[in-house]
Symmetry: C2
């Protein structure tokens, strides 16, 4: 309810009811933000999760890709806050009569309370067996493809054009996911990353010892 008063922009007058209604419906755990894509600042905000207010910068990297040819609704995608809360977010590009992007509406839903509730429910009468079967979340080889694919999508570059640092980053994720604790994983990774065995091990060595790269 920080978005009323007399200062109001036309765009705020136009879309504020929407934001307010959504904020009311989704209760205290959903933040609704109206962004100005030109100045990259917040026009209005309801149920602010952080301490952000109107006029603050948007901090939305996602808004870079405001391609008018693309879809106007994005998400839901996941964000993780510094304090660990997990948000589900959707964004909508709002256009005026001239078809120009006039504002961007974002809804950020804090999933943590829901996840906690789910955890409580499924822990009720907890059995000794957490779950019978698979050690692997599906097939680890698909997991590799997925991690690589995700990274490629994130940075836009098409795999062949990945920089050394990119590959390093991907390897860090694969390593994080304990991929290399699996037997015969290396050939799969070299294939997925399109590098040779040598390069793979070189990069991995670098991951373990980030010191031995510069000076002295």
């Amino acid at each position: 309810m920080e978005a009323d008063g007399e200062n109001t922009d036309d765009r705020v007058r136009m879309w504020a009811p929407v934001g307010q209604a959504v904020a009311l419906l989704l209760g205290p755990y959903a933040e609704v933000v109206l962004h100005d894509p030109d100045t990259d600042r917040i026009l209005a905000i309801w149920n602010s999760i952080g301490a952000r207010g109107p006029g603050d910068p948007s901090l939305l990297g996602e808004l870079d890709a405001l391609d008018p040819s693309a879809r106007d609704v994005f998400g839901p995608y996941e964000k993780v806050l510094a304090d660990g809360r997990r948000l589900s977010s959707v964004s909508a590009v709002l256009r005026g009569p001239d078809r120009k992007a006039a504002a961007v509406l974002c809804v950020n839903l804090d999933r943590t309370p829901l996840e906690q509730a789910a955890a409580v429910l499924s822990a009720f009468g907890a059995p000794t067996t957490p779950r019978p079967e698979p050690l692997f979340e599906q097939d680890w080889t698909e997991r590799v493809q997925h991690i690589v694919g995700t990274y490629v999508r994130e940075c836009g570059r098409p795999l062949e054009r990945l920089t050394r640092a990119d590959r390093l980053a991907v390897l860090a994720r694969l390593n994080e996911a304990k991929i290399f604790a699996v037997r015969r994983a290396t050939p799969v990774v070299t294939a997925a990353l399109r590098v040779s065995r040598s390069t793979l091990y070189g990069l991995l060595a670098e991951l373990r010892a980030p010191s031995t790269k510069d000076n002295t």
Copy 2:
């Protein structure tokens, strides 16, 4: 409420209020059963999940190990019904003044509704990324211990006394769980199963080729 009337056994008179109270508290999804460990039949039952009634056989393999030196409360452990419902069960050995096991009380809680609710909650506002990280459900080495431990508990024999067929069965489960796709898994398994490397590989070979054991 099938456990009143005039036919009643002393034991039923003694423990029926407990069973009934628990059944009432836990609502329609918890079944409470009072077993006779001697005849292996049902003495009384509340909220019967199947079509079982008093006098029916207990079908409880778990009751074999009625060792008076051991603990009197078992579980919670998991059972899976033919129709796929997952139950959490606890059992208690009830003793009379002579310290002899007079009856066994089992509570079977149907977890499916809870799990469904949990699934609904955690799907709310579902993000595109199902979950970022770990390939392994925690630590695979604990997984081995757990699988072995579960088997031991199931058949009652204390690991050293496992038969060859038992070890074969455990290995089948470990194999099922793709444990051997993990690097350096064999030493962990041999340790957990208390067999030598040779035996391990021998049994594994047998798993792959069940034909090359008998005749022709």
